[in-house]
């Protein structure tokens, strides 16, 4: 069982009291406990079971504008005492920073809305095994599939965040996730692909059969790929890759990158950075949302933000420290975005494929080719060649490159958004990028 609020609260207040006794002018502490159980299958047999039980504590102490932090997994009172003493000693010796501060009291979350983030159902290992057996038997039923690996993880966690201004809140959350990776082989090639599901509640995850079928189908269609020539061509990003564009966008509008001046979106507030049809929303209070939160990692209440409205940048993601630096109020985004998504476009998936007579449809990218300082983007890709709206053949060993500043302005979105992950996008087309191949 995951530790209850009372236990976590008692640890948290022990820390705050101790810090105060030592002379700290402010302090904040997070105590969390998490239990997860994973079962892995490979080629229709049990491969691994893994149980993880972890407590964690992190403490920040302030002396005026001086600050330092410690973290530990050892919650014995003795150890905590030694660590807080060490932490405060370091605080005293750290130079002042005028922007160091606990969050403004009036911004702290007051009420804890129930967003249904916790499902107490326990899906024991025997049941996980049954799920994976069915999944793998479906996934491996096609002759071309030569290897399957699948996994089921159940996680329950609880935490308390408390600070010396009287904030003391936390809540339980859970997640259930299953994944399946399949390898297919033919006379020309060996390819791998996957399918994945993760939800707060057990009853919402995809069925074993659906997951296995999808993984197998997605892998087999990649067999015998071709390399293509280098050219400028419009690219369609599968949903699972399209959401990555939002990740890069979120990184570039984090108040940290803006305050440091290391973002290509610095000073772009109220400017057109996407085409007029594009809206980007970050919504923390989605019922059962995978990325939902009631407050951020400093305790600041998080509200829905329209980050991009009709293509115009409306908000940065602001935490307390960088907010003070930029003269902005925290909008509860310390720790980043919550449930981030592109609003649906106006055109169906099928019609998107027909906009141009030829596209590359990208299903996977590899490499870390996003430079948020300059906006340059270059990654390895695999996918399919599409002609006249139809999938022609698989393509691999190509790269795609462009600059986010141009790419963002050339996005067309389909109307097939759904909320599978914490970051979601409809299928996306971007024109004017360069493909490098032969």
């Amino acid at each position: 069982m995951v530790k209850d609020q009372e236990y976590l609260k008692s640890k948290a207040s022990y820390c705050l009291d101790l810090a105060k006794k030592l002379g700290a002018t402010g302090s904040s502490v997070t105590v969390g406990h998490s239990i997860s159980e994973t079962v892995n299958f490979r080629n229709n047999t049990l491969d691994e079971s893994n149980r993880s039980d972890g407590l964690a504590i992190s403490i920040e102490t302030y002396l005026g504008k001086k600050r330092s932090s410690i973290s530990s997994s050892n919650l014995l009172d003795d150890n905590i005492k030694t660590l807080i003493e060490k932490c405060f000693e370091t605080t005293k010796n750290t130079p002042e920073d005028e922007f160091n501060s606990l969050p403004d009291k009036e911004l702290l979350a007051k009420e804890i809305k129930n967003l249904n983030l916790y499902d107490e159902t326990h899906f024991d290992n025997e049941k996980k095994i049954d799920y994976l057996k069915e999944l793998e038997s479906v996934a491996s039923s096609e002759e071309k599939i030569v290897n399957t690996e699948s996994s089921f993880t159940e996680n329950k966690s609880n935490f308390i965040l408390a600070n010396s201004d009287g904030f003391c809140n936390g809540y339980k959350s859970s997640s259930f996730s299953a994944s399946c990776v399949t390898v297919a082989k033919d006379e020309n090639s060996m390819e791998r692909d996957y399918e994945f599901t993760s939800k707060r509640h057990l009853s919402d995850i995809k069925g074993a059969k659906e997951l296995g079928e999808k993984a197998s189908e997605q892998t087999i269609r990649k067999l015998s790929p071709n390399k293509i020539g280098s050219e400028k061509i419009s690219i369609i990003f599968d949903k699972r890759i399209a959401k990555g564009m939002l990740g890069a966008f979120a990184g570039a509008i984090s108040s940290n990158a803006i305050a440091r001046g290391t973002s290509f979106l610095k000073d772009k507030i109220n400017e057109q950075i996407f085409s007029e049809t594009i809206n980007v929303i970050d919504k923390p209070d989605m019922n059962k949302g995978v990325g939902s939160q009631i407050f951020d990692s400093e305790g600041v209440k998080s509200d829905t933000l329209n980050l991009i409205q009709n293509g115009i940048l409306k908000n940065y993601l602001v935490d307390t420290y960088n907010g003070k630096k930029l003269n902005l109020k925290s909008n509860g985004r310390c720790g980043g975005t919550t449930n981030l998504y592109f609003d649906n476009g106006k055109i169906s998936f099928e019609d998107l494929l027909k906009i141009n007579s030829k596209h590359i449809y990208v299903t996977e990218t590899i490499g870390h080719g996003s430079n948020l300082v300059t906006g340059d983007y270059s990654v390895g890709a695999t996918g399919f060649l599409i002609e006249n709206g139809e999938f022609k053949f698989p393509v691999n060993e190509i790269t795609i490159a462009g600059n986010f500043k141009d790419m963002f302005k050339n996005i067309t979105l389909a109307s097939d958004l759904d909320f599978e992950y914490s970051v979601n996008s409809p299928t996306m087309m971007i024109e004017g990028m360069t493909v490098a191949g032969k």
Partner: protein, 470 residues
């Protein structure tokens, strides 16, 4: 050395008994105890942005029978908690029976000292160095707009208790010093990053004002990039500089030669043992035994002493990297490559210091031989798809080559290639092998471990460069 039992109701005797009892009918397994103290101090935007310390203590208990691994970990070292883990392992393996392999090789060699780098230098003297770095770079040139510099250090003590009471221990220091600088000129911004580190004290790396060298290198890379032009797109010849660009070997070849992917036959190399996989003259080793290197280990995380494993000798595939589990199932022996990020993770076969050895050509000859291509001097991260063999890495410093001469610097571009065939495209191997500066972290299955790489300059006849200029 940590004493894992002095503040616990669990005695060493209890632990021995629970371990032996749990592993009675298993093929292998151990109790792994770990105590890590780590710190990080970061200067950014003219200020000490963070100063943090972390202490992490816990155990991971593993039981293996046949191909099935049962694992349970916790950060509570107590009788109760270990018993709970034991029951969990037993229930997973209840219907199986194995024979415990007590064999484990021993060695007295050590590749680093039992030091605690965190305590060998005071906080104030660390802050002083970071402030000096910031001032030095900001005074150096008007174009310097942002400086980030940091120290990270840790001491990890581990103890492995095997069935029958055999105990193996190791104390591992690790430090890293990093400088990142952003320049702005004529409306363009570029960053340069450089770092050094390894398994020694901070002062070993900072003697003789060595921090200045790190600053200069970061500044030089950023300056080069300010002048960079769009990179070409398409297939061409690529000359790789010595040292850190060996990340190519790590991604393209290294991962595909890890035992687990080959036992499971998901690696493109699984049926190529003894065959020619690289041009003649290409020899690649994975070596855990170089003194004080970031990727070196006295013993691996299963207790096996590390070694220098020859992976490819003169073009022929000779060995895979093995941990105990995959070695047993593939009928060979562990190469001391069993590693884990920490007690929360299972052991996997991993790289240590992966190196291509020197040949006898010069970098000059390579450049001269190229009509149209690129010269890549430094890289950011890389990644590989083990199954299809395709790998990428991102240039952070590269130049055009035109008619045998180095031309303008080019913007960061991704290079993509095919692992099993890339080494056959190596047509020249340089005489200038160099180790990387001690900055690599390799990710696999969500676990990051410190690694090293090394290589001489090499010429690759054909690779796809992912630029924007057609």
């Amino acid at each position: 050395m940590s004493n894992f039992f002095d503040k616990s109701d669990l005695s060493r005797k209890d632990a021995d008994k629970i371990v032996s009892d749990t592993l009675l009918n298993c093929d292998d397994g151990e109790l792994y105890l770990e105590d890590t103290k780590s710190e990080s101090i970061l200067l950014d935007d003219n200020k000490i942005k963070s100063s943090s310390y972390s202490s992490d203590l816990g155990f991971g208990f593993r039981a293996i029978t046949g191909e099935v691994v049962a694992y349970s970990h916790s950060n509570e070292i107590s009788k109760d908690s270990l018993k709970k883990s034991s029951e969990n392992l037993k229930s997973t393996l209840k219907s199986m029976k194995g024979t415990y392999n007590h064999d484990i090789s021993r060695s007295n060699k050590k590749f680093y000292e039992d030091i605690n780098p965190l305590e060998q230098k005071t906080l104030n003297s660390k802050l002083e160095v970071l402030n000096k770095v910031n001032e030095y770079l900001r005074k150096k040139d008007n174009s310097v707009k942002q400086v980030t510099t940091s120290f990270a250090g840790e001491q990890k003590s581990i103890e492995i208790i095997r069935s029958g009471g055999e105990v193996l221990t190791d104390v591992r220091p690790l430090i890293r010093f990093n400088v990142s600088v952003m320049l702005e000129k004529n409306g363009r911004k570029e960053t340069g990053v450089y770092g050094i580190g390894g398994r020694q004290s901070y002062d070993e790396y900072l003697k003789n004002d060595n921090w200045k060298t790190v600053c200069e290198e970061a500044f030089r890379i950023a300056s080069v990039n300010l002048e960079s032009k769009p990179a070409p797109a398409g297939e061409m010849k690529v000359v790789l500089g010595p040292g850190w660009p060996a990340i190519l070997i790590h991604e393209a070849i290294g991962h595909g030669l890890e035992g687990d992917f080959n036992r499971k036959k998901t690696s493109a190399f699984h049926d190529l043992m003894g065959q020619k996989v690289a041009s003649e003259g290409v020899t690649i080793v994975d070596d855990g035994t170089i003194d004080n290197r970031r990727g070196s280990l006295t013993i691996d995380d299963e207790g096996t002493p590390t070694e220098k494993t020859v992976l490819i000798e003169n073009g022929i595939l000779k060995n895979f990297m093995q941990d105990r589990l995959n070695a047993r199932l593939m009928n060979t022996k562990s190469t001391g490559s069993g590693r884990r990020e920490n007690y929360r993770h299972v052991v996997l076969p991993r790289m240590r210091n992966t190196m291509m050895l020197s040949g006898n050509q010069t970098q000059e000859e390579m450049i001269k031989s190229v009509d149209k291509g690129i010269f890549a001097v430094s890289f950011g991260g890389g990644q590989v798809d083990i199954t299809s063999g395709k790998f990428v890495f991102n240039c952070t410093e590269a130049y055009e080559i035109n008619n045998g001469k180095i031309g303008s610097p080019i913007k960061g571009a991704t290079l993509i290639g095919d692992g099993p065939s890339i080494l056959k495209e190596v047509s020249m191997v340089g005489n200038d092998m160099m180790l990387d500066p001690g900055i690599g972290t390799c990710g696999k299955a969500g676990q990051g471990v410190p690694v090293g790489v090394a290589q001489p300059s090499i010429l690759i006849d054909k690779m796809t460069v992912g630029g924007t200029k057609l």
